[in-house]
Symmetry: none
Subunit: 326 residues, 2 copies
């Protein structure tokens, strides 16, 4: 249907407001997105490290009802091939601070040398909004007593299903993905690539060793009795990885999580050069440190205080708050 | 001495080339950095995740000899409080691809809404260039013996300058950036934003507590005698941060590095939701864990094995290799 002159004028006026938004893409419904006209309802999440922000916006219609959109903005990486041009063409360099040989500046560039990657989900549903919403974190310092009185009862009251773990151990699932196995029921384990690793490169290598022995929920259950198991995982796991992937033990980060994402003991093997999510100090515990602690004191993990972060909406956080521990 | 008209013209021409570089900082030698004039010798490292690039540049003198500089560029995080303005004032939105409800765009902003954080080390030494050059990593497990026999002699043989640390403690530099101070010479410290944090948002909050007491090189020197200092840093540091920035202790990650990047004891305070570089388990040690260990055993850090990564080109790695420890 041909566009009426008044519709055409409205569209061109809108394009002007959008700063000459251009349609150059493929796909159905390709066109402009009225970025300048959306109202920002909420910031769903932001990452200062990644330089991203996720917005819940509303596109306003003539009738006043808004249609939800998720707008994701991300600063773009620098590109080696145009770095020299970027330095020459900067528009302003403003000194912020200097101390001895160190100085910091605010640097400004022409827009075309500093674009922002933008992704839009439109129209967005409530599910999209929840998916991107970040929760505030709260650090917990769980003593040995807290574990017995708060955390353990909570874990036992939940029906966390770990059937998928048993499926792997029993070769009912993912059997062809197993890299290595020590079948000993007490001291053995299965080594398998983590689902987060697509195995297309070793930069982000990520494997999991799942112990055969059932009933070891986490670090809190470990005693000196488990040293043979832990030493097997450490030694045989590294040997299998060097054999299969050519990555030596000194290029691996080998650790447990507390709290773990499922309560059947497992150990993470990640490439040392890869800052895997969850290798931060408030969640990861090096396997070598765990072994050292247990060699000194069999009861170490029943007595010590363990620190971990909980999201604001987690029921376990509420338990800690009710017990006056947060 | 009054500036001659020709000198004035030269200076103004230079400022014009530098894009009106402005001097607004304190400190000795504060002035502009000739960013447009440097030649980029090498890209030392880049991170597409962090949107950073580290350059080895050379500032050319009239005689043709260059003086080395390290120039670090980092895209800045988005700030919630001006996101609406940013969307309205964008200069261009260019469709890249669309598929059903998903579409991607190139977005362009006015320079003042999209600055780049720039840090310069100038003049830079070979040591600086090596520090920033990305290398393969090797994990070391340093026993208490290894520290005495290999690491400590190595540290003592090096001439790492920490004059900039003393400048801060003596208020010769960055005095106006100090957030809090406990002036006690044995148990006190200065709390100051880290250079990596531009303070424009709290998502990537990053402060350092530098102890007044000189001679505590690292974790390895800590004994129960330092517990008052460590507890002061923990308690007063968190109080100062909640007062100034509204971020509570349970939203902070408070830790030491081993090995540290400079051998004068300091503690990192970072936002819990921010995956700061260097908060990984093979480098970070929670201050609360350090205090716990020292309460149990004053000699813990002289006896225990500490794990850390060294780059392939680090002389200390060679020492460990020569001693047959790697």
């Amino acid at each position: 249907m041909a566009e009426s002159p008044s519709a055409k004028r409205k569209r061109e006026a809108k394009d002007g407001e959008n700063g000459n938004a251009e349609s150059q893409g493929e796909g159905s419904g390709a066109g402009t997105f009225p970025l300048a006209d959306i109202s920002v309802r909420k910031v769903l999440r932001e990452s200062a490290r990644d330089k991203t922000i996720f917005l819940h916006g509303q596109v306003n219609s003539a009738s006043g009802d808004g249609t939800d959109a998720v707008v994701i903005l991300e600063k773009t990486p620098f590109q080696e091939e145009n770095i020299a041009e970027l330095l020459k063409k900067h528009t302003k360099l403003q000194l912020q601070m200097s101390n001895d040989i160190y100085s910091t500046y605010h640097l400004y560039l022409p827009p075309e040398l500093n674009e922002i990657k933008t992704t839009v989900v439109y129209p967005a549903t409530e599910k999209h909004l929840q998916k991107y919403l970040r929760q505030e974190l709260c650090l917990i310092q769980e003593t040995g007593e807290d574990y017995k009185k708060i955390t353990l009862p909570f874990i036992e009251s939940q029906s966390f299903s770990i059937q998928w773990v048993y499926n792997i151990l029993e070769k009912k699932a993912e059997a062809d993905r197993i890299i290595y196995e020590n079948p000993d029921p007490a001291h053995g384990f299965v080594l398998i690539p983590d689902l987060k690793w697509n195995q297309k490169q070793v930069d982000d290598l990520y494997l999991i060793a799942i112990c055969h022995c059932r009933g070891i929920k986490s670090l809190r259950d470990l005693t000196a009795e488990h040293l043979p198991l832990l030493r097997n995982i450490s030694r045989e796991g590294k040997e299998a990885i060097v054999k299969r992937f050519g990555i030596g033990g000194a290029q691996l980060r080998v650790y447990l999580h507390y709290q773990p994402s499922y309560f059947h003991l497992h150990v993470h093997f990640t490439a040392l050069g890869y800052d895997a999510p969850g290798c931060t100090v408030e969640r990861a515990h090096l396997l070598s440190d765990v072994i050292d602690h247990l060699e000194r004191d069999s009861q170490y993990y029943q007595k010590c205080t363990l620190t971990f972060a909980l999201r604001a909406d987690e029921p376990l956080l509420k338990k800690f708050q009710e017990a006056g521990r947060v």
